[in-house]
């Protein structure tokens, strides 16, 4: 559960016009950027439901792209993002979808380049977001806490090995969610932490046998 703050009410400082459709879109883009980590060569953005219907007038497309390029919610670049130099060598397109099973403000980032990746997320109101899926794995990433994401081979002892390394730095685990393809196949771990984890520990986690993918996602700035 989220601790409520005065600044939920009197911020963020943001580019208009909508906290859910603009600021939320930027934050989804920022999070996708952190997860993908590489510069993509090609991006397809699938917008669902209200994002698709009213996204244009709210600059949702601009917000998503600005986030993907690393600009924050208060950046004055968002407005003219499609003319931004950083976008020049990226091929991109938007697709509008209707799907009542998806959140009203949902997006899929299909990222192509050195690796290909699908990242899904929702803008859940007041600029808050959640990354709900990376590839086919369920995640719970809000960007409010530092979050560690792992893909690994499903086998006994993995959670314990990772949490032991985290515990060495005396870092408190706020939440932990796991998911898997099937027994013995690829599994995912999504760990929210109360403080920042050091690069040396991340390296040790990456070195654990049968860990395929690690992302240390720092919390989003206000």
């Amino acid at each position: 559960m989220k601790q409520r703050s005065l600044f939920d009410i009197i911020s963020p400082i943001m580019t208009g016009p909508s906290s859910s459709h603009t600021a939320g879109a930027v934050r989804l883009g920022l999070m996708a950027r952190k997860i993908y980590r590489e510069k993509p060569q090609k991006v397809i953005l699938k917008l669902y439901n209200s994002f698709a219907q009213t996204g244009k007038g709210h600059g949702t497309d601009k917000g998503l792209m600005a986030g993907l390029l690393g600009y924050n919610v208060d950046s004055n670049k968002i407005k003219n993002i499609f003319n931004d130099a950083a976008l020049k060598d990226i091929e991109y397109r938007f697709e509008n979808e209707q799907n009542i099973e998806r959140h009203p403000n949902a997006v899929d980032f299909l990222l192509y380049g050195k690796i290909n990746m699908r990242i899904s997320g929702n803008s859940i109101g007041a600029g808050n977001i959640e990354i709900t899926k990376i590839e086919d794995f369920t995640t719970k990433i809000s960007g409010e806490l530092n979050t560690l994401i792992l893909f690994y081979k499903d086998k006994p002892g993995m959670i314990s090995r990772v949490s032991t390394l985290i515990q060495k730095e005396n870092i408190n685990i706020a939440s932990l969610d796991c998911d898997r393809d099937a027994k013995g196949k690829t599994a995912s771990m999504c760990i929210c932490l109360d403080s920042e984890i050091s690069d040396s520990i991340i390296k040790k986690i990456e070195e654990i046998e049968d860990v395929y993918f690690v992302r240390n996602l720092k919390r989003l700035e206000d």
Binding site: Q3, I9, S11, I13, T54, G125
Partner: protein
């Protein structure tokens, strides 16, 4: 300090017991909850305040249209009238109305504003605080006090009702912003803690049932002009409260009524653009024209 309050009653009780203002309790609570100093909380508040002033300054100079092309020159028009004849209601009225419009129009141009509590209601709190601060020649610290007071009101209401049109209609956006502003106005006017909360209650009580039915799903019609009306609404509430005209229904019960009203409101009137203004003949036509572009 570790304070716990989710109701106006408990906040007022703490204020009385500690002999402190609402903003003092709120800033100390925020500092405690998030492991910060009171100074850090106030610095962060000042950042929002500065961004609010910047948006007003930029908005007063612009008549650039919104992305949709529907809005953008209302502030320019109103300034024109005031320049020619002045407002019937004096300088403070001129400032509040133009500051609210300036901010909302900056929002629609995809320029920088402060969501307070939301982007669609971003014009109300700045208009009231900055205009009154200019009138009363308040210093920066007092402006910060006022903004934290406003924040405390929103904080308490949001313990029961999420600040989203989709949840409780415009009650939860412009309505809450108006209640926040009313308390902030009383802070600047030198009222006491009870008067601040009562002002917020009066403002909230008189917008119950306010629907969220934006044309074409955009934060433009009726949101832009509604920000102006709700800023003036806040001033009315603060004047009444400074005269100790009390809401007969206690503030917390008004929040309960607001929540219940939000639940009873049809989803068609809660940010879905499927009823009200959005589905008037003209609303539908505007939507059609925008979709064809």
């Amino acid at each position: 300090m570790e304070y716990s309050f989710t109701t106006f009653e408990s906040l007022l009780e703490i204020c009385n017991k500690e002999n402190k203002r609402i903003y003092e309790i709120m800033q100390e609570k925020e500092a405690f909850d998030f492991d910060k100093t009171v100074e850090e909380v106030r610095n962060k508040t000042e950042k929002s305040l500065k961004a609010m002033k910047e948006a007003i300054k930029n908005g007063l100079k612009s008549k650039e249209k919104s992305i949709s092309g529907l809005c953008g020159d209302d502030c320019y028009k109103l300034l024109g009238r005031y320049k020619k004849t002045g407002s019937t209601f004096g300088k403070i009225f001129e400032k509040i109305t133009t500051y609210a419009l300036a901010t909302m129009e900056e929002n629609l141009r995809m320029n920088r504003i402060v969501a307070c509590p939301t982007a669609g209601s971003c014009g109300i709190v700045p208009a009231v605080i900055i205009a009154l601060s200019e009138k009363y020649k308040s210093d920066k610290e007092e402006e910060i006090n006022a903004l934290i007071t406003a924040g405390a009101i929103g904080y308490i209401i949001s313990a029961k009702v999420a600040m989203a049109g989709a949840i409780a209609g415009c009650q939860a956006e412009c309505g809450v912003a108006s209640a926040m502003s009313a308390a902030a106005a009383v802070q600047i006017m030198g009222g006491d803690e009870k008067q601040k909360i009562n002002a917020a209650a009066l403002a909230l009580k008189n917008i119950l049932g306010l629907s969220c039915d934006p044309v074409s799903g955009l934060v433009e019609i009726p949101c832009v002009k509604r920000n102006v009306f709700m800023a003036i609404h806040a001033i009315t509430a603060s004047e009444l409260s400074m005269a100790d005209i009390e809401s007969k229904i206690p503030p917390d019960e008004i929040v309960d009524a607001m929540m219940q009203t939000g639940q009873l409101m049809s989803p068609l009137l809660k940010e879905t653009s499927q009823g009200g203004l959005a589905t008037t003949k003209t609303g539908i036509l505007i939507n059609k024209n925008l979709s064809n572009n």
